[in-house]
Subunit: 322 residues, 2 copies
């Protein structure tokens, strides 16, 4: 969709999907620049990818990071004057990028600080100058134009590659693309990239089924009361597996294309569902897949698809299909 | 607090704290019976604990579990007639327990099924008969007496060790203790065991601080607007680290004993906090510790301490103090 480089964001263990597996596939597809949140994530990624690709670290060069930055050849996105001094002092010949704050006030060097340090920073040949948008998933939000203007004012005329857009920003149009976009969620099937294909399928084993009579209760706090005689299945996943406890009323799984409502409280390792309307109860029920995206499941829990992905637990067996 | 055996529940990776480290300490303290949710968790635990202790699996003997049950000498808590047939057929000489449903309708053999299979089950010498309470954290809830009565009716006179109570049940009094209690959350500093000491300390590094002027916004969606000139710190943890995104208004961390309010949206790898009132910003701020329990943090997110614990992410460096 762009004429600039597409870098890929694999922080938070590849948005919960397994950074090594995800990164290998993306490298094979041509990605040459990877972003992680923390230096420790970069170490794992370097051992996965080998020496070629560039690995950029959003949190920059934090106290204690120097040895692993050097050892794994990571490129910190320097966020502050403090970090710049630390980097130039401890790893003077090592690559670095610059993260500017264009208005989100979360990470990055402020415009006034940038005026003060840009000459010394540029003399050290930064590999990238980047910033991040606060409201990119709301295309009409005036913050987008405001941040674009601020980023331009800080970077116009500089002979350094620039990047402003993640998934949402890439969708805002070419003026947001600069030399590199950095999609994350859009790679993994989540909004705001509405045309994303579904990436994750999550099937949960059924442990057992039981009949409950009208008036019987199910689960913690007797939360669910049977309005009629019903068949209830208990399935082997709960909030310790990332099925956020706030998920409840209105949440559902699928047996093929038949909706299966969640009933009662999500507990730590288990959930209960109403399978009264099934002829045969299959061995697994599907939470994520072609019928239901991470964003639909996020709605059940009052959150966003990103949190559904990063919460996916470690007890699931993971199979990767290339 | 009891005259019966105290078994320990270390499912969900020891309630998020690291099952191997937790189990080693509990074994040293005298625990001889451990509970996990799934057979796969039992495999890890067996390699940690060696051949001595008993490892019980709440989800019973599921399809596909046979080889690892045998290989790691796990004891399934049989939940259904189907599971009993599977177990007796595939591992006829291997130990097993029985999980009965006394009213929660989540896991366990129903009273009528139990009448039908108890003779054959008892002839195979089960190691334990257990059930689980749905409302144990509400001492006055009539469900507790109801489940106690149901469990007694199913087990009275049997020469098999019995267990009904987890943390909440143990606090309901001796008639709930039977031969074994199975505390989980109470081991890890969470309610309903109000006298629990704090177990987890969570310190989060500060990445950078910045001045924001009155009227400036911070974070995704411009959610927070500065009512006055402020100093904002960005810290290195977010919802991918288990700091549930629903946490927001009213959430706080600590710098020593000074409260530090969370502002704006919790993002994937980062949070922003207001440190305007600090003379010096320390290198870390504390979310969990002596000032603030998992239950307090759970209140910030509208959930329970259990979910805070099991959500604690893998990017934290973990240090265990014995």
């Amino acid at each position: 969709m762009t004429n600039s480089e597409t870098a890929v964001v694999v922080k938070a263990n590849g948005y919960g999907l397994g950074a090594p597996s995800v990164a290998r596939v993306l490298a094979k597809a041509g990605a040459r620049t990877f972003f992680v949140a923390a230096a420790e994530e970069g170490v794992i990624l370097r051992s996965t990818l080998g020496p070629g690709p560039k690995i950029n670290v959003f949190s920059g060069h934090m106290d204690g990071d120097t040895d692993i930055m050097r050892g794994s050849n990571l490129t910190p996105m320097i966020n502050s004057v403090d970090q710049m001094l630390r980097h130039l002092e401890t790893l003077p010949a090592a690559p670095f990028g610059i993260q500017l704050d264009s208005g989100m006030n979360r990470l990055g060097i402020e415009p006034e600080e940038w005026s003060a340090v840009r000459d010394i920073a540029l003399s050290q040949n930064p590999t990238l100058i980047m910033s991040h948008l606060a409201c990119a998933d709301e295309p009409d939000h005036p913050m987008n134009a405001h941040q674009l203007k601020s980023f331009r004012e800080m970077t116009d005329g500089l002979a350094v590659p620039c990047s402003l857009a993640a998934t949402g920003g890439a969708l805002l149009g070419p003026e947001f693309h600069f030399d590199m976009t950095r999609p994350g969620i859009g790679l993994y099937g989540g909004m705001p990239f509405a045309d994303a294909q579904h990436v994750v399928t999550l099937d949960i084993p059924v442990i057992q089924t039981r009949k409950v009579s009208q008036g019987e209760t199910v689960g913690y706090g007797n939360l669910w009361v049977a309005k009629q005689d019903s068949i209830i299945a208990t399935i082997a996943a709960g909030y310790a597996d990332g099925l956020i406890r706030a998920m409840g009323n209105g949440a559902r799984l699928y047996a093929d294309d038949i909706q299966i409502p969640v009933i009662g409280r999500v507990s730590m390792d288990l959930m209960t569902v109403d399978v009264s309307h099934l002829h045969d109860v299959p061995t697994t029920l599907q939470l994520l897949g072609k019928h239901q995206s991470v964003d639909t499941v996020a709605d059940f829990a009052g959150t966003i698809g990103y949190e559904i992905l990063t919460s996916i637990g470690t007890r699931y067996a993971r199979t990767y299909i290339e």
